[in-house]
Each structure stands twice: as C-alpha cells, then as structure tokens.
C-alpha cells in the first residue's frame, strides 16, 4: 500500500493531492534508492583518519536523482516561506517519516539537519545579502552548515546559560568561547556556522542577552579540536565537533535579525525541527518494525521447535510497537497541524508532547527489534544498532526529556490550577446543596453503629 493510502484517516483532510503524490515519490525513492545506497555510503567513508576526508560519491548520485525527481527542499513550510515547494508541516512531516528510514535520504533530498533549520532561519530572518551568500548555495545543496549552540560545562537545557562571548567592537564582532556537538563540523563541505553567543551578557532580561551570527567556517581563530562519538559511532564525515573560538572576527553584517534577538530566533527554529526529528524517528521505528517482522519470519530460526512468529511474547512486541508508533504519529501530526495553523509557539504543548514521547517509543521499538535479532542486532549487519544510538541522542538534544516534562507539567498546572480548584469546589458545593434540598441523608460507612455513640 503506497504511503499516500496509509495516512491515518484523521489526518487525511490535511494532506493535498499534490503532497500525496510527492509523498509516494519520496517513499519510492527511499525504498528503492536511498536504503540500498546506505551500506555503500558507509563503505565509501572508509576507515581510520581517512573517514574525515572527502565524502561518499554515492550521495551525489542520490542528490541528482532526488533533485531530478522534484524531491528537494520539501521542509520549508508553505505558510511561512515563499522559497520552498509549498508544503505544510503536516505534509512534509509525512515525507520526513519516509526520509527517517534511511541514513542517506535526508541529505539526498537536501532535507538534513542542521541545514534545514539553518535555511529556515536565513530565509526568515536573513538580509538579501545573507540569503544570496548562504541560503542560495544551501538550497542548491552545494554547501552544508552548522548550528553552534550547545556548550560544554553548562546545563544545556536552559539557553540563558550560554557563555560564548560576542563583543561588538564597532566595526566587527569578536568571538571567544567554546561550542561542542557542532554537528556537521567534520565535513569539508560545511562552509558556514550559525553561532549563538552573548552580545549583551548583562541585559536584565536574560532572554535578550543572546545573538546569532553567520560565521564562515574557515574564519581564522575557529579551531575544530576533535569529533565526539555517539556510543561508538563517529558519524564521519559529518561528525559532531568540539570547537573553540579564539578572537574570531566577523563583520557586523554577519548578525541575524539584530543584537539580543538570538533567543527569539532559536525559539522559532526549534519547533519545526522537533517535528521533523520526531517524524524521522517514527520512520526509523517503522523500519525497525519491518526488520522485526522480517526476522520473525526467518525460517532458519526455530527456537524451542517453533518459528519466532509463533512466540507469543514476540507477537505482543509487534502489537505494542504498532500501537505506540501509531499513537506517536498522531501526536506529531496533531502538533504539526497546530504549527501550520499559526506557529510553533502556538503549539508549544503539542510539540513538547511529541518531543518527549516519540523518541522513547522509537527507542523501545528499535531495542526490541535488536533483541529479536540476537547478537546480529547489536553489530553492523542490520541498521538497528546505529539507529538506536542516534535516536538515543534525541532524548537529550534541545534539552533532556526531564526538562521538557517539568515545563509541560508546570505549564499544565499553572494554566489549569485556578479553574480546576474552583470547579471542584463548586461541584462539591452543589453536592452539599443537593443533599440539603432533597433531604437525603449522608450516611457514612458504619454510620448506624457509630452514630449511636454520639
């Protein structure tokens, strides 16, 4: 059944015919081109230090095919950007689910993080010159970019802790500080960093201390120290860099939107990104479920005298995966619709729900798929172990689950406490009134015996 026919009925009204057609193209591309290319991509990366030089040519092949098929830059949402192919977040979300099944597909369609969020930022807030210089080659897939926010040694879940200093020296900005988890920084094609830092560290409003700059990756003073691994994966050639800024100078027109507005930009950037990540995670979970089903039907595996597909515990895993993946998808699509209706801020609660729930569900499904594969599941012979390790970072990136849960819980409590306590008090008052009015006796348990004692 093509993906366009498998959209949850409740979401169908939100998907145009044009989007359905492209969705099926994306599904076909991922299934027939990207997934088969994944192991080749990995092999082309090579081993040892050479992993950080050059990049797999098969990705260029894929990019050509994808672009030719019109599967390109689908992420720029229609109600906000004239530059993109005019799909809604819901529509792109369904495509992103397909992309999430392959390690090459997102980049092949120029829909890979962090470029997507970066392009959104430049398209929305960039000057004409900034767009010409950076957005154009990014949208053409000619260069890649980094987003440098996270720093070592601070609590990353609270943006106001950022330390990288950006000083306005009159005719240039001077940057000093450190960043890490700068994804993509290992790649030769990564030409520009969006850097978050503090221009106004003493501003009384801690949300107006930050600014964002567009910084060429080869600016003197930028030192990539090392790459960080994810479990044992180095993610070459892309990588996750640990970088220091030592008296890095950039022109004043590198600033995005204006000094003190970094936090504002970041808020807008994160919302759609979380939806993209969540939908890709759902795609990964679906692929893991496919591998699980594939394994259950491996006729060579007959522990205790019956094929794996007749083992009740494993069938229960399939069923629970089905339920939780489907619930997760609905949560994300509902959030995407709310973003489409207005913006990410309007969908704060819904996005937070997706941010927390989806990775946990995907991780459990993948972990069970691994378990069903036995030792094969933890090694390079399936896509599962790598998928698990990379999705595990989603429970941490952009703030750990626990921070989002606290915020979600606090907001729910704050918004509703007054109403709820008033309502319950009112209901109880009405109950008292009914007892009196109807002359009904409130007999408590043991009332006859203990009343007698009074």
């Amino acid at each position: 059944m093509p993906a366009s026919q498998d959209i949850p009925p409740i979401a169908v009204p939100f998907v145009s015919e044009r989007a359905k057609q492209l969705l099926d193209k994306v599904e076909k591309f991922v299934d027939e081109e990207a997934i088969p290319a994944d192991p080749v991509y990995s092999a082309q990366i090579g081993s040892g230090e050479s992993r950080w030089h050059g990049h797999p040519s098969i990705l260029d092949d894929l990019k050509k095919k994808a672009r030719a098929a019109g599967i390109w830059n689908m992420f720029l949402p229609k109600n906000h950007f004239k530059e993109g192919p005019q799909f809604t977040n819901v529509e792109y979300g369904l495509m992103a689910e397909q992309l999430g099944k392959s390690i090459t597909a997102s980049e092949a369609c120029n829909c890979a993080a962090p470029d997507t969020g970066n392009m959104e930022v430049i398209a929305r807030y960039g000057t004409a010159a900034q767009k010409e210089k950076w957005l154009k080659p990014l949208m053409a897939g000619e260069i890649r970019s980094g987003f440098l926010m996270t720093e070592p040694d601070i609590a990353s879940s609270d943006g106001s802790n950022i330390k990288l200093r950006i000083e306005n020296k009159g005719d240039h900005y001077l940057l000093n500080g450190q960043k890490w988890w700068s994804s993509g920084a290992g790649d030769d094609r990564c030409k520009v960093f969006i850097v978050m830092g503090k221009t106004n560290p003493n501003h009384p409003n801690k949300f107006e201390q930050q600014s964002m700059l567009l910084v060429p990756a080869d600016t003197p003073g930028i030192i990539v120290h090392r790459m960080l691994s994810v479990y044992g994966y180095d993610d070459a050639p892309h990588g996750h860099g640990h970088i220091s800024f030592q008296n890095v100078k950039v022109p004043l027109d590198s600033i995005l939107l204006g000094e003190g507005r970094g936090n504002e930009i970041m808020q807008g950037r994160l919302g759609p990104g979380r939806i993209h990540h969540a939908m890709r995670a759902i795609g990964a979970a679906e692929r893991a479920l496919e591998w699980m089903i594939n394994r259950l039907n491996d006729e060579r595996k007959i522990p205790f005298g019956k094929p794996l597909r007749e083992h009740g515990v494993l069938l229960e895993w399939v069923a629970k995966a089905r339920i939780e993946i489907d619930a997760s998808r609905l949560i994300v699509l509902n959030a995407a619709i709310k973003v489409d209706q207005k913006d990410a801020k309007f969908a704060l609660k819904e996005i937070a729900e997706a941010k927390v729930k989806v990775p946990q569900v995907a991780l459990e499904v993948i972990d069970r798929a691994i378990q069903v594969h036995g030792a094969m599941g933890v090694c390079q012979d399936t896509p599962l172990a790598s998928m698990w390790a990379h999705l595990r970072t989603l429970r941490i990136a952009d703030g750990p689950d626990e921070a989002h849960l606290q915020q979600l819980g606090k907001r729910e409590n704050k918004q509703r406490a007054a109403d709820v306590t008033a309502r319950i008090a009112r209901q109880q008052g009405k109950t008292e009134q009914l007892f009196r009015q109807l002359g009904v006796e409130k007999k408590e348990l043991g009332a006859e015996k203990f009343k007698a004692k009074l």
Copy 2:
C-alpha cells in the same frame, strides 16, 4: 475553554457545528448537574440489602433535565441508524468523554452500557415487533436491559467456547445454561436480556453455532443467584449478575436476525462499544488529572517544606498524564473516523489499538492521582478509587488485553510478512548490485589485518 474549543486540531474537520454545540451542552450538564449529583446518587442507594431495591430518585431528575436539554440517545451513529440524533461516532465519542467523568451522566442521557449496544442491536437487526416491544421503551429510558454473553468456567476471550444451549423445540426455544457478569441484572428496571447461546453446537463453522435471543427478564426459569463485586464495590442497584437458565422457554420470534448469526451480531456490537468505553475512560482520566492538579495546589499539603506542585516527580506525572491522555484520545478518534467511514470491521486494527491502550493509560493516570492523595485516595472521599476499580475491568471485558495483543500482532505479521521480507531482500539485492556497479569495496572491520590471513 469549552470542550468544543478544545477538540484536537487534527479532529476538528470531523466535527459538525451542531455536534460542537451539543458537546458543550453535554460538558456543562456533566459539570454542573451530573458530577454534583454523583454522591447523592450513592447516598440514595442506601446500605445492606436495601441497596438492591428501588433506585435513586436523583437519576430520574437528571434524566428529565438531560432529555429536556436534548442530550439524549446521542450514541446511535448517523450513518447507520435513522432512529438517533444523527451524530457520527467521532462526535458522540467526544460527548462520551464528557459522560465518562461522572457515574450518573451516561444513564442520565440514556447512553449507558449495556443499553446502548443493545439498542444498536435491536435497531439494526430487530423486527418491527421487536423494536416496538423493546427498542421503544429503551430509547425512552423507561426500561433497562442486559447483555448476557460471558459464562463462568470458559475462556471468555474466544466466543466459540460459549456453552449456553438454545434448543429449537419447533414452537419455542428452550434455554439451559449459565451466565455471569450480566451487568444491570440487579436492577428492578432491567426488563429484557439479549442472550447469546448455541442453537447449532455442531455446525462445522464454529462462528455459526451461536444465536441471540431477546428474553424477558422475568421469564420463568431465569434465576439470578448473586451479584459479583468489583474490588469490593457491588455496583448496586445495577450490579453484575450470576444467572442460571433452567428450562427457560421463549417464543421463536425472540430470535435476532436468525439462527447461527449470533456471532455476526456480536462483532458489530462490540466495535462501537469499545470506542464508547475508551472515550469514557479518557474522560475519567481527565477528571483524575483534575483531581491531581487540585491536590497539587492544596496549600495545606507542604511535605518537605514546599507545596506539592513544586515537587518535580509530581510535575512529571502531570506531564506524562497529559501526553498519554492526548495520545490515547487521538488513537480513539482515529478509530472512530474509520468506523464512520465504513464499519467496525474496517477499523479492526484501530479499535484494537484503542481497546488495549486507553484503559492502561487511564488506570495509570488514576493510580497516580490516588497516590498523590495519599490515604484519602483509596477511600470514599474522592471519586478516584471507584473509578480505578471499574476501569480495571476494561482490561478484561470483551477479552483480556493479552488476547487482543496476540491478535493484533498476528494480523500485523500475517498481513505484512510477505511484503516486508520481499522488500528487505530486494533492498539488499540492490545494495549488492550498487557495490559491484560502483566498484566499491565492502571492507569489513579489521579487513586489512584479517584479509592478510587468507
């Protein structure tokens, strides 16, 4: 915010203006009339054996109010029944969520199980005479009814195990056997039972052995032996009866649809019922969450020197409840839409997902609300303990979770195994082809060292 404004955005296209208006009326009725009446209802039931005689007059008051407000019989879905107020399953589902917050609301609106399912059955399959005799007073809320399927001593998750014997004696049917968990059988107003039994126990197709009859509750030979409790609750005056049939005679025109078609009727009956139960369970969970929030803001409770609402663990419970309730609601509404599009059989997977997931979520939310209330939570001073006990039965009724999970898992595996295994094989074949075609070497880990050994 009125309920009509709080419908998940993704579901909004499926709810008519007329339904929104009634939804708000239902919400207001539950909030202002039914919930305050609940404790009075309980008090009017009395204590000891008198609990089984008469019934609380406040329910008649509520019924009058509800009917006058047009909140009556909303459950009969529009695409199947001309007798009802013409709402879809989605629309009624949203109303059922409101009804689920109160113990009196469903009956007050003539939307209480098992009457709803029974009315559906008679409306769909009954003869004109059967409708005149039983459907009319049921729809008017003048009588109540029972649905007698479950039997002791057999595995209830498999309908083919039913033992109650229905013999066609030429001019009447003769019934012998036992039923239990006959909900409503304790109530003086319960006038008719729909009885499932076997007319054709030797039919080769085990799904065509069963038939359903309409049996007046006062037919000689029907003996109500006792009532069954649910975690200490007797559920008087309604009750859950253990009943035997000893040479019970009913006329031949008591049969519904025809001999051997009991299973067919049951399948249609269960689907919408599961949606109703699930949405009511969501309403119960929402009410439990309200009580949790109410408790968190009780200024008298300040363990370890800070109010409960500042305890991180409890805020996390609020957040997790929010996420899981919202996910559950979307699962049910999506299932309801599929039923609306065709019928319950078409939505088998979606209904099963709702059947399993929703009660588990609701039970956990309620259990945590109980925990937050401490000892108060397990006793009669909140609606929580009773809510928990009754929702617990949903994990068992109409087949235990585990049976549904097995079926869901088997179906998913069966439907997808051929496709999935073929796809993965095809993808792997394509990968091999790419390696050859591009002349890329498949270097395995340690390849240089160990290759040398060959």
Copy 3:
C-alpha cells in the same frame, strides 16, 4: 517442600533450628487452618450495618488452635524483648511471610497490626503499670488496640505536621483534634489507642514537639464518626476509623516515655513494622502466584486452542514474578538482619528499600494473577482483588513511596557526594599523570585532520 527447606541459601545461617520448626508449623497452620477459614470469616461478618457488631467466632477457634500450637506472639524480637518467644526479626519475618497469605492468620497468632507495633512500644517504653493494664491483655489476645497517628488535611509523610493538641493541664492531659485511618477502631474489642499529638507545639526542635499517650478507647469525648473504605472494602469489623477528640481527658500517667518523645518512639516502631508488612506482602504475592499457576493449569481454559500454561506471555509473567518476589524477599531479609544486628535506625537504608520495592512487586504480581483470571479475578471468587486493594495502601501508609525515594536519594547523595567526586577527580588526575609518564598521546577522534588545522 516445607518452608524451612525453602529458605534462600544466603539466609540460612540466620535461622535457628527452633525457628525452622516453628516456621513449618506456621506454614501448616496457615495452609490447613487459616486459609480455609478465610471465607468463613468473611461470611460470618454478615452484611449491612451488622458488619460492625460482634466478630466472627471462627477467629476465636483459630486463636485457640494457634496458641495451643505455640504459634503466638512471634513478632517480639529476641534481642529487644524478654516477653516474646525469642525469635529474631529474620526468623519472624519468614513466619510473617506465611501469615501474609491469609486474612485471618495474623490475628489468629496475635501477630496482627497495629497490635504488634503497639505491644512493642508498650513492652519497650511502658511503665510496669502500663504493661499490666494494656500489654498483658494484648499479649493474651483478649483485647485489640489502635495506633492513631495519621490526620486528615496534612501531609502525612512528614510527622512534624501533626496537629492533634495534647495539653498538660497539671493533673491531666487534654486532647483535641482529629485522626483518621485509625485501623481497628471499628472493632468492639479495640480497647486502647496509642495517640500521637503535640504537647510542645512550639519546641524549637520540630522532632521534640510530639508525645504519645495510652488512651482508653471509651474515654468520653472520643467520637468515631465513620469508617473509611479501601477501594470498595470496608474491612469490618476491624475498620479504619475517622475519629475526633473533643476535650478528651486522660491522667498524666498515660504518657509513654515522656513529653516530647513521641517522635523517638515512632521511629523505633516503624522499622520492624515495615519489615513485617513487607514479608506479609511477599506471602500475599506468593499466594497470588499460586493462584496464577492454578489458573494456568485449568484445563477448561484453552483460548486460541492451547491451555493457558502454553501461552508464552503468561509464562513470562510467572518467571518475572519468580524473579521479583525472590529479589524482594532477599531485600527484606537483609534489612531484618541489619535490624537484628543493632536496631531500625542502623538499617534505615535497607528498610527504606524494602518499604518501596516490596509492595510494588507484590501489587504487580497480584495484578497479573487477576488478569490471568479474567473477570473472575476482580470479584469475590478469588482472594486476589481484596489482596490487591489492601496491599495498595502499603504504597501510601507511613509515607508514600515518593517521600521514601526522595529521602533515600538525598541520603545516598549526601553521604557519598564528597567521596565520589573526590575519587573521580583523583582517578582523572592519575590518568593525566599516566599519559605524561608513559608519553602516550591522547589522540581524539579525527585528530589528524583537525590537528592539521591548528
């Protein structure tokens, strides 16, 4: 295999031959006398208001049998009390596990809460006169007692919140306030309450504000208002009372230990009580597991064509129950040994571990046993639903799980933070030193490429 042969090997050195012999007697008594008597006991309680009058005669029969067999007052631990039969906490713990399988067994052996804790308190802290008046009839099983600590409307997990006022009026104490969850207060035989209140509400040390008094249950001014239910169970004739004290006068010699020492007494009282409760909970879990196994082998239950015992999911439940029950037992026995070695304070951590873990494990086992029984599991036809409801209160009584977890977490962190942070720093320092000393280069991922950039 008799219980004495089934003691975990690791615990065997801590159990004397004498204790093993009595343990087997207790097991036999519970199996052959108490469990069969349980349903008779329930039937003798009757229905309606009569439940609170009189008490089941079968319990007197059991008490006679138990006492004659020397199964009496086993709870008073040997290193602390000369009055008891000289068993250690470990030894009695193993007996308590057996008692926990039956609803009548504990009382039949005069080992029922709250009498056990109360007897310990009087034996340890009481004057000769107090012992003569109250301990003697309690140890003879002639009267019962209550322990009145919990109050409505305060956070019960923090003892310093207690409000009941005890004023020293020179020649008597004057009590005013409220208590609830006063277990046993419904019983005609309950003759004395140990009442916790504040004599010194303004004492700067909040742990020295409380005192405990021995108060005859029939003292004027003590009003039992009602009984509290546990889920739907009323626990008659014992009951859980909601009581008010209105100008209740008791002589000055009613005080235990001295003014301001209530908290000190309570601390000692709770420790062993938690061990008893935990071991009884384990007994309940074992009995639930027996019912689960019994059900799995019910030949009438063959869902999907095979007996329940061949369903993999259910076998996994049996296995998980086995593992977690065994782990729980070891946790409690280890705690008991530490109490035996010194006292409850010495075993604070271990007791807290048992307090939190055991009820959660037991509840899950019982819940699964219920699930395996289907509808039969939630009603009066098995001991399971009642067992579940009563064990559920253990997650709340003496402070909710969450309070204990916070304390356990804080203590662990506080005790270990300095050591742990120093150790890790020291280890890292040593690592640096080794790198230097051995001249090993710390090559980070991608080092060659990125070093080149410097």
Copy 4:
C-alpha cells in the same frame, strides 16, 4: 568504607577473612590502578587498522602489578579446582563486582572472559597434556583464548541447533563450518579456541550430538573474516570474530572429555560465567551511579536555578538505582552460594534469575547516568556509553532474556502445578467442610433479594 565492610550483612557469613582482605586489595587496585589506566589503554589501541595489531603496553604493566599483589586467577572456585587461589564463587563474585568497574581490570588480574570459563573447562575436563599445553600459559596470562559456540543463521538460544561439523576421520578430526561472536579472536595473543561442534549429528539424544575440541588458533583452514561491532565499538584489539573453518584438521587428542559430551561441558561452563558477568555488571552499575552522583554535584550545572542534586526526579533515579542494584546483588550472591553448595545445575533457577535481572537493572542505571550527563553521556568523555553498549549484549549472550524467561516460567509451572492445584482444591474443600460444620450460611451479595426469586 572499604568493600569488605560494605558486604550485605546477609552475605557476610559466606566470606572468609582471607577473601575480605583480598577483596579490599582488588578494590584498591581497580580504583587506583585500573580505572586510571582505562583511557590510556584506549589511547594506546590507536586508530584505523592499526587497532588490530599489537596490544596496549599499559595492560602488561597492570598485569605485573596485579600478579605481584596476589590478585590473580581468583575465579577458579575452591570446591572444584585445586589450581586456583581457593575462593568460593561468592567470594570471587564480590571481587568480580570490583573488576567490572574498569575495562582493563579483569584482564589485568587474569580474570577476563572467555579465558576464565575456558580455564575452568580445561582444569576440570582436560587431560594432563592439555593442561600442560594450554592451561599453564593461560593461568600465567601469557596467552589468551576463544570460546567458539555461537553461529550465524541459527537460533542461538537452543544449543541443539549448532551446525559446525566435526568429523572423526580415524586419526584426526575434520572441522567445517562457521562461528561468529568469537570474542578475543582479533587479538594476536589469542592462541587457542575451544570449539563446539557436532561429532554425532544423528545421535537420537540431541544433547549428545555435540563435542568440544581444543584447536590452536593458527591451524590452517581457520579464517578470521572480519570483526563484529557492538553499537559502533570494535573492541579492538580483542574483537568479536566471524570465523570459518574450512577442512580444519586437529589431532584426536584435542577432544575434551569425549565425543558427545560437549553439551555437558557447556552446561557447567555457563553457570559460573553468568555469575561472573552478573557481578561485573553490578560493578558497572555502581560505577555509573558514582558518575551520576558526581554529575548531580557539578556546581556548574544549575538548570532552572537549582543544582541537579535538588531535582526530585533525579533523586528518585538515585534511589531506584540504589534499590535495584542492591536487590540484584543479593540475587547473584544467593545464586553463587547455591553453586558453592553443589554446582551450577543445582542453582539453575537462581542463576537464571541473575542472568535476566542483573543486565536489565544495570542497563537502566547506566542509561539514566547517561541521561543525567546530557550530550556528554553518549560520547567518549565518560565511561558510560561504552559500558551501556557492552552490557546490552548480556541480554543476548548465552540466549536472550526471553528464552531464559520461558524456561524459568515453564520450570516453575511444571514443578509446582500438581502441588499448587491440589493445595487450592484441598483448601477449598476444607472451607466447604467448615461452612457445613459450623452451620454458617454462605450469603452471596444481594442474597436476600435474589433468593426471594427462587
């Protein structure tokens, strides 16, 4: 507090003074030597293909220190081997816990798998010549060894599926087949493999088809094809090999114990190995908890305005880790005692409990420690990610959890079904007798009303 003072009280009687002293030495060695050496060891392995050549010299330093300190070969249990230092499984278990905190410690003390199990096998079943040739250098730490059981493409949880063929050709054995997950096969020092295969594939008893041979690693026809990764980790220089046997010839005296006795050997080998693995996993969990506590007290991390150690959710994680680690340790020690009392077969149930429970607990503790560290947790900057990945394999190695749970569940059911069903029937019979004997009426719920109907 030294480790010898922190033995759970319940286990103390099983630990000799001599073992306590060595335990403290081991702890000190791990803390002061091995853990600081771990990062140096990793650095010395190098990058790229060179990882598979040579081995880190720091390990030789450690070995010298360990041997000099008498911390050597502690694993050979006293009741079975005269060759070892005469510690029991309990005693060595406590030492293994310490070893499990470091990646170098086990090998440094010559206590690393698979050598330990292999040495046990040769010591127990080897001929004098086999001992001279292989056991001696193994015990001296001069060579290493592999254990080749697992094969690709079969269900590894059932040993009877093994395919590697061992033909007795009269004057030699001829081996053909494949093995994978041959841990250690990448190491230049690995000189001998214990190979499991089928000499008697048609033997009617499927447990007597297998034999074990001692095969020199450099025998012609043995081809190491590649190394398998574990979540991105290659585990060089040790590695996990994928090996084929192509007409490999070994002399007849290579056989262990005799043809057809491979399964018998394997059973004995796995038991103690599982205890060692479990205790090392507990050590890893303890170390993760230390890192968690270290992080909670990092003063630079103050999300939402308070240090991590004041966040309730995180404190609850510390507490739950404490409880579950302690419960796990008791489970393993209890199993070890049973092995000490007789042998692994005698402790089948207890070992299975440890096999399933411990890795799951350790993985959860480590995962939470990772989560507390945020992005730092998944990379090379803590030992946590690597620890997690490697412990994850324990849920699969020697059969997946699910296989062990099925066996545990089946055994429990089988052993107890007859007794349990008889007991419950007997108890119910006694109850009936009591009702009759005492003339007590069995009044069911609603009895008065419904009896009237009869």
